[in-house]
Assembly symmetry: C2
Homo-oligomer: 310 residues x 2
């Protein structure tokens, strides 16, 4: 390595440390029955976000197909694919081309009978630098994920990137303070939640507002409790299979380490959100709300049990 | 026991199980320099809440004195008292007289050099049925609690009462998802947070709204994550010692197990809140948002450490 490159490299590291500014990109998608279209639409939107300066871009959960977990149907296992595989190859190439960190969600086939809801982080050299498998798997009317996915076996993850320390969790994980805490304790400054969540049309009128509000609230609480940025990336639009319909509620957002929503998309249309964030706010939030300092690790053993009646 | 009393007792138990309805009472106080006045004011307000039908009444944190932790001053240790002791005796008598469950917060002297921020639950027979010592102790400008209180040594608690299973946590504990989770896993259907929190007058304009909002949000998140009722009981008014002033922000509230605020007091005056709650909502919330079912207790060991870098 020659002297000039070395000096440039050092100054870049120094400048990055001084500012700790980065830009996250959130791609909120309407997903169709046509996988080819979804792929092209995704690539085009990722390019658009990169053009707007986004350095870390994250896609919604299982963004290449309609949300098949609406029903239990064996035929959907054929969608699953190897990771790394042909789909991840496409996005690795793209991340390198655009010089971005790219987070994508895939239906992973590990071997016959073992499938995961998986999320990979690709760095700006086009290399997969982290793989996370959804740890908490829902089973609720219209969200029959326990039928398709084995619970993740890789634990909670942080990965260092050129643009900050980041962790990924997936959808249902967002209801578990344990998941956010463990990811933050691994060192993450930003937690990304690729998501597929929406209303049952019959429930929307009565419970819709409260459900959406709970979803935003629980994620703001992770930012507050841990002093981290939280980014949720959801899909939009109605998807129907037989009698089962879900209206995905969008509302993808970026939350700062004090729990303030700094940017948010709407509930009913596709959109790209490119948002400046300053990772120095993590340090500042944790100094001013020093919760991590006061955790009672001597008294938390009950958390690794399901009930604590003495 | 004669047959009639036995039958009445059984029908009462049956009726309680069927309805699971109860009424909580929240006493939001302005606390003065005059301890005698504070005591009389508290008793009078407890009686008023009981008259309105409250069955479980909770007082704010350290409600008999101004919030002395604004400064570090050895002379305040003389306020500390034995628990049980003369103050708890007064409230035990009152709880029996009014046939209520009463939760009060005290500065406890265990022995010379060991003091706790303690909360006791008294049943309707006037008996102390639970003692909780604040587990998470803050130390922040104006909240110098580490100077006064040893961290609690009794762990997280639930206690069965005639009117439901209840847990108590105290103020700073409210920022820790671990505390709410452990209390809920012990069986609590309602978690009470006696509290003393407010604004630094100099910060209020710039950060006041966001701070109050974070405080409400984190507690709503405990209700959502655990499917429990959450009740916070704060003081109001400005208290000053030397240059140090705090404006306590009131806003005492009751939150249902879906995270909805069902009743709330204002930020600037004393008040009593008597609120109907139906404990059946705990079961219903946990069936519809089945988070407890999906906890990954096999993967939570990192929670009993402070950092998790591999």
């Amino acid at each position: 390595m020659n002297g000039k490159i070395e000096i440039e490299k050092i100054s870049q590291i120094y400048l990055n440390k001084m500012s700790k500014k980065t830009k996250v990109g959130v791609i909120q998608l309407k997903i169709t029955k046509n996988k080819e279209f979804n792929l092209k639409n995704s690539i085009s939107k990722i390019k658009e976000a990169a053009l707007k300066g986004a350095k870390i871009i994250c896609m919604p959960e299982l963004f290449l197909t309609e949300y098949f977990c609406k029903v239990e149907n064996h035929s959907y296992f054929k969608i699953a694919e190897k990771v790394p595989g042909s789909t991840s190859d496409i996005f690795c190439k793209l991340a390198k081309e655009l010089n971005i960190i790219l987070i994508i969600s895939l239906f992973e086939k590990k071997l016959s009978g073992i499938y995961y809801n998986t999320c990979i982080t690709i760095n700006n050299n086009g290399k997969i630098i982290s793989k996370y498998r959804k740890m908490h798997i829902p089973d609720d009317p219209g969200y029959y994920e326990k039928f398709y996915f084995a619970p993740g076996d890789l634990g909670f993850k942080n990965v260092k990137t050129k643009f900050g320390d980041i962790g990924t969790l997936i959808c249902w994980d967002q209801w578990f303070p344990e998941a956010a805490r463990l990811t933050a304790l691994k060192g993450s400054e930003i937690i990304f939640y690729p998501t597929a969540i929406g209303w049952h049309p019959k429930e929307k009128k009565k419970y819709g507002k409260s459900q959406l509000d709970s979803w935003i609230t629980i994620q703001r609480s992770h930012a507050i409790a841990n002093g981290v940025f939280v980014v949720a990336i959801n899909r939009v639009g109605k998807e129907k299979k037989g009698k089962r319909e879900i209206e995905f509620w969008g509302n993808s957002f970026v939350i700062d380490p004090n729990g303030n929503i700094i940017s948010k998309l709407k509930s009913n249309k596709e959109g790209i959100l490119v948002c400046d964030i300053n990772l120095k706010k993590v340090e500042s939030a944790r100094q001013h709300w020093p919760f991590l300092r006061d955790r009672r690790i001597d008294a938390y053993k009950g958390l690794i049990k399901n009930q604590n009646n003495d």
